[in-house]
Subunit: 401 residues, 2 copies
DNA sequence: CGACTTTTTTTCGACTATAAAACAATCATT
DNA sequence: AATGATTGTTTTATAGTCGAAAAAAAGTCG
């Protein structure tokens, strides 16, 4: 329900508004912030000087004048702290260290061999990578604002338990993370954090109501509502990959049947092309290039399979259109992006065919822009997002840099 | 995106908070309001006296004391204005006049014979009913705070155009309504307004994240998110009845195939029971009682059909669970309510089978509480909802009563 | 050099909520 | 019946908020 408000809330909100604009448009100026937020120049000056004093924003240099006083440049205090993003994917764990302007300072990959990684192993791997990267950068863990972690499952109980049926995690405990590293940790579903990245820096910039779908081996989605991620009662909203578009259909690795994943996931499509006997494990990307090439050459089996993807994906997306009424659908994921690159127009046509006229005619499909790095980048937005929304009283920012 | 805030917004919000509590808990007292909203006694007194001066709230009488000063009663100024609710259903148009405490003062029904009513006819019928009811009540149209209208379709363009593919309305224009009657009109999708009614007075009271489904001839849904109705980009979100759970399947009246409606709608189920040759037009409710009775008697065909409803409805609901992650699902609509009355437990079991473990285990199914009147009641909440959210500077309330 | 423009800061007024004190009205107990 | 405790409501004083307007700063241009 709506909570009561007081004058303090006004400040918190406007601080967040200003900080957010600086972050997403750095470098900028006070007058620009005023125009963009609608706040008066007086308030902008007032709040900005607070933020500068606290170390979240840096002032320096001027923009050229065109007939008046020069605008003083304000920008993110990029060296005030570090932020770490980590993403547990299906084939690897990626970890990156960024400065506060999201420039990457170090990156590591940790391959997952067995498809099903144990929770303890994942935690240990991430811990080890972070420790070694910080050592390499000669940075103490106290300089790190936070660690954002994207996981391939549902995050519940305030971000400590992870449920990922497809990799065998049932209530995996991630609560001790921050203690072990001495860094505040924030955990979120990987599809959601990837969506957050596209919303800040990619194809979903400025989108108020949108859906991002990630299609790879499996299928996930992130929902943007009023410019924010939609979470639902316990943060698991948007689990599109296991919605059902068929009453029976192929078996899914979640143990059920008819899931979207089993129609549009990469290996499902490859199996449909060459039959289930030929195994693609470990070389799915090759397989996808092969089927696309065969499709371009007019191979009938490839044509059937690709047509099937467009039809099934179009249908599954039309359900999202009817239910969420988005203005934009961003198609991503390594397989989804390949499909979108070749077949965006037919896919959009399929969506409009299956969706109701009114929401269907308004929705526009676009490709994702950030590519495979989005997951780690998105994970790194978690601590920043928290910082901005809290209005940034971050003590960590004031520690010596 | 988030808008800037100022001290005025604080007042608007707290006014809305107080007014809302008075409305939904009338009669109440200042101290109760303070406890419920978290606002200080001083603020409550201050705002409440404004509301009383403006005519939205009435003071009178006292509650018994149990060891202190008596609480002064404050309540909705029920006779300060009238409000009209109208609902265009599939078989009839219902219109009711309420006072501000939602006590019904007059009610009318207008049967729709041809299944497909013309827009002009619907407008004329509603206008005529409203005029005659007001005459009967000896009330001038200037005494009416507003007319809320629920329609069986998508409402766009700020509430003036209605798209209802299944009744043949493509961009039907409802913009002149208020002028003709001299009453401010508010239009919304019928499923949404019904959901609003259950949220205020029925099974969805206090639900922050919920889904209400309405199953009759067709199927609709209203989504509650953070205690408010979810609308999406152009207010059409929640069109669950035409999401697809099958790749081909039976033809739907929307012109597509595989829609949820074609599996769980009343006539679809009756057709499945007795074959498409027996027509149930005009006696669907009889038919439903007949099939339920046959089902209780162990009739195999009825058993198959009812099992099918539970399975298909469970599957279609599980998609909503995965996508919206609700804490509660309210099952309503005339057919849905009958099913829920007999088969709520198996239905919940089916939902949990098909949904992912985590969101599935948390969701609870309940029956709707308000019955068929909810649609008209919900429509009447539209002007009140607007009044409350605006913080109620309503001039209409000050006109002589 | 002076007029004009643009950006930023300062000053001041209008509103808000709340804590604390004051006031009001009741009950319970002696 | 008097007294004190308790509960509800109003008044008063205070701190914090934004924004309009004035002032100041720092340019451009003729």
């Amino acid at each position: 329900m709506v909570k009561k408000a007081s004058v303090r809330d006004v400040r918190r909100r406007n601080r967040a508004l200003i900080l957010r604009h600086v972050w997403l448009n750095t470098p900028t100026s006070r007058s620009e912030v005023g125009a963009a937020t609608g706040l008066s120049a007086a308030t902008v000056t007032n709040v900005m000087n607070e933020l500068i004093a606290e170390g979240a924003v840096r002032e320096g240099g001027f923009l050229e004048s065109d007939g008046g006083r020069r605008r003083a440049i304000v920008s993110v205090a990029e060296d005030a702290a570090l932020v770490v993003g980590a993403d547990v994917g299906e084939t690897q764990i990626g970890v990156k260290v960024f400065d506060l302007a999201f420039r990457p300072l170090a990156a590591r990959q940790y391959p997952i061999k067995s498809r099903r990684i144990e929770v303890a192993d994942a935690r240990a791997a991430i811990n080890a990578q972070v420790v070694s990267m910080l050592a390499e950068l000669k940075a103490d863990s106290s300089r790190v604002l936070g660690l954002g972690l994207g996981v391939p499952g549902i995050v519940s109980s305030g971000g400590s338990l992870v449920h990922a049926e497809v990799v065998g995690w049932h209530g995996a405990d991630f609560s001790g993370f921050s203690d072990e590293l001495g860094i505040p940790a924030y955990i979120d579903n990987g599809a959601k954090s990837t969506t957050q990245a596209e919303a800040w820096y990619g194809a979903a910039r400025g989108v108020e109501h949108g859906v991002m779908v990630l299609v790879g081996e499996g299928a996930g989605a992130g929902i943007i509502t009023d410019g924010r991620l939609y979470r639902g009662y316990s943060s698991s909203a948007g689990e599109w990959g296991h919605t059902k578009i068929s009453l029976d259909g192929p078996h899914c690795r979640c143990g059920r049947t008819g899931c979207v994943e089993t129609f549009v996931g990469a290996s499902a499509v490859l199996d449909q092309w060459r039959g289930p006997d030929e195994t693609w494990l470990g070389r799915e990307t090759e397989g996808v290039e092969a089927i696309l090439s065969a499709w371009r050459d007019g191979d009938p089996a490839a044509r059937r399979a690709i047509d099937g993807v467009v039809r099934h994906l179009g249908l599954a997306l039309s359900n999202l259109v009817n239910l969420y009424n988005p203005q934009t659908i961003i198609v991503g994921g390594w397989f989804g992006d390949r499909i979108a690159a070749e077949l965006l127009a037919p896919l959009q046509a399929a969506v409009r065919t299956y969706a109701l006229d009114q929401p269907g005619s308004e929705v526009v499909l676009v490709r994702s822009q950030l590519g495979p790095d989005a997951a780690v980048l998105g994970a790194a937005t978690l601590p920043i997002s928290r910082l901005i929304e809290s209005g940034a009283g971050a003590e960590r920012l004031r520690s010596p840099a």
